[in-house]
Amino acid sequence: MPSVLIKLRSSALHGLDGLQVEVEVDSIRGLPGQSIVGLPDAAVRESRDRVKFAITNSGFEFPAGYFTINLAPGNIRKEGPLYDLPIAVGMLLSSGQIKAENLHQTIILGELSLNGEVRPINGVLPICLSARDAGIKRALVANDNADEAALVSDLEVIPVKDLLEAAEYLNGDRTILPHAVDLKSIFDAGQEFDLDFADVKGQQHAKRALMIAAAGSHNILMIGPPGSGKTMLAKRLPGIMPPLSMEEALAVTKLYSVTGLLSGKAALITRRPFRSPHHTTSDIGIIGGGRLPRPGEVSLAHHGILFLDEFPEFEREVLEVLRQPLEDGKVTVSRALATFTYPAEFMLVAAMNPCPCGNYMDPVKNCLCPPHKLQRYWSKLSRPLLDRIDIQIEVPRLKNEELIKQPSGELSLVIRERVIAARERQTARLKGSSAHSNARMTPKQTREFCRLDEEAEALLKTAILHLKLSGRSYDRILKVARTIADLEGSEIISSAHVAEATQYRSLDAKGGDYNV
């Protein structure tokens, strides 16, 4: 039988986008062999071996002749095993073992196992979104990718178990109904949290600060001796954060999809991410990187929380690279092969001991740290970094009577209601701008929306004089005061709000004590 040139559609991941790739398969008669061209990486070249076994183990004949597989366009790098399925289908079409027409609007994605099973791949969501925008109508994907692909509207998702099933479908011998997911039920699920604020003993002051932080998406630093409950508090933050909007959930899911962190979990990420990288994590791990840059922890915490426990134990470089994403809400990572920009709008939650031994300024225990150690500890945290942390609080050691008492206080659900109400006020106010929360307001918006009454203005002026605040701290106080007013449902910022907000600049006020 004469061989024909087969053209199939697939895709390549490029950062958070899918680029359209054409898989061309053709053969000539002669000695048997295959070559794959079009800048394939090792995983793509290896697909030759997987495809061979998948074809023979699915009951097909491995076609004779010399095959050339071209992944076009030839100037972008192709990574990963997602071309196995289109290559196998292409070889079967080329040798006439299956017959199908009108495949120019069908995208085919999937890795093959040696027995012909179609395995899931990374990045299905961004690939399918881009494909839909490029006019693709149908996607042939692995069963395990079907939920994720079906999140894309106006795209017919055909899930296949193995190569044989794909072949039968393309031949028209088997009907596979397009896969659909109930977006709302997925979205509503997963809003339950095991950890509750009511489990934490005492620390009413810290709990209030965390509520304000959650309400305005403010960065927060907790300073306190070991065992005071900083980590416990931080872990309970997701439970009081407002739920993700659909748009936000898709943005977060895209990031987890390309990093391959979705598998095994639900197709859509419906909870705000909580990332707590260990303090030995490198700057590349935090910010993202690699030969072809992958998202780092700051991006995985997008629309969620980046919790850095033992804050000053991180490498200095790691802490300094946080500055750009904290300011811009995104990171741009450049490498020789590509430059990608990943979103990184996270809320930074940092926790630290007041000194290496943990007992500095403790009323009961004595600090054993020599002064130079204390100084070195604090010098890790630069002024520009601390300036970007809106709320800085102390979480003191629990008193004996507090320790014995049963935990008490408000349930996370109750706090969450208040946070949601405050967020709604912000969303309404900031409608049409890129900011979603008070913390992300531009200087212009800050001036416009943070109107103080006379008394508040006078108070803030005194505070600036006494605390020698920087311009940035001044802005931060205004934003936090705005959030406190929002929590109370007040449009005007009063002196009480400013007073509380100023109190959360504990390092500005007490910096000297801490050798900052």
Partner: protein
Amino acid sequence: MAKESKELGDRGENAACEYLAKKGFRVVERNFRSQQGEVDLIAYDGSVLVFIEVKNYSFRSFGSPLGAVRKSKRQSIIHAAQTYLMKKNIRGVNCRFDVVSFNTGTDGSVAIEHIKDAFGVN
């Protein structure tokens, strides 16, 4: 010793020819040699030209005959095949590399194993 193994090889090739003929193969060449390679048998299986490596074993209890066709051997067969196609000016014919092995057991019984499309040029 050299003579013995040559005899053993010839016997194997004869047996392979017989076996392939039964399978409907048309043998066109035996022991084809090129400068850097050789191939035991060349035959047509329908329209497909097949280059066949014949392996002989006695008392072999495990392992696949493919394991005995290592990379250098494969290169040698591929080189011979390319030379053959060029010399005979054969174009537009699909080709294949097969391995046929004879396994003689202790009781004198012979098991034949035929691996089709055992390898490709890459």
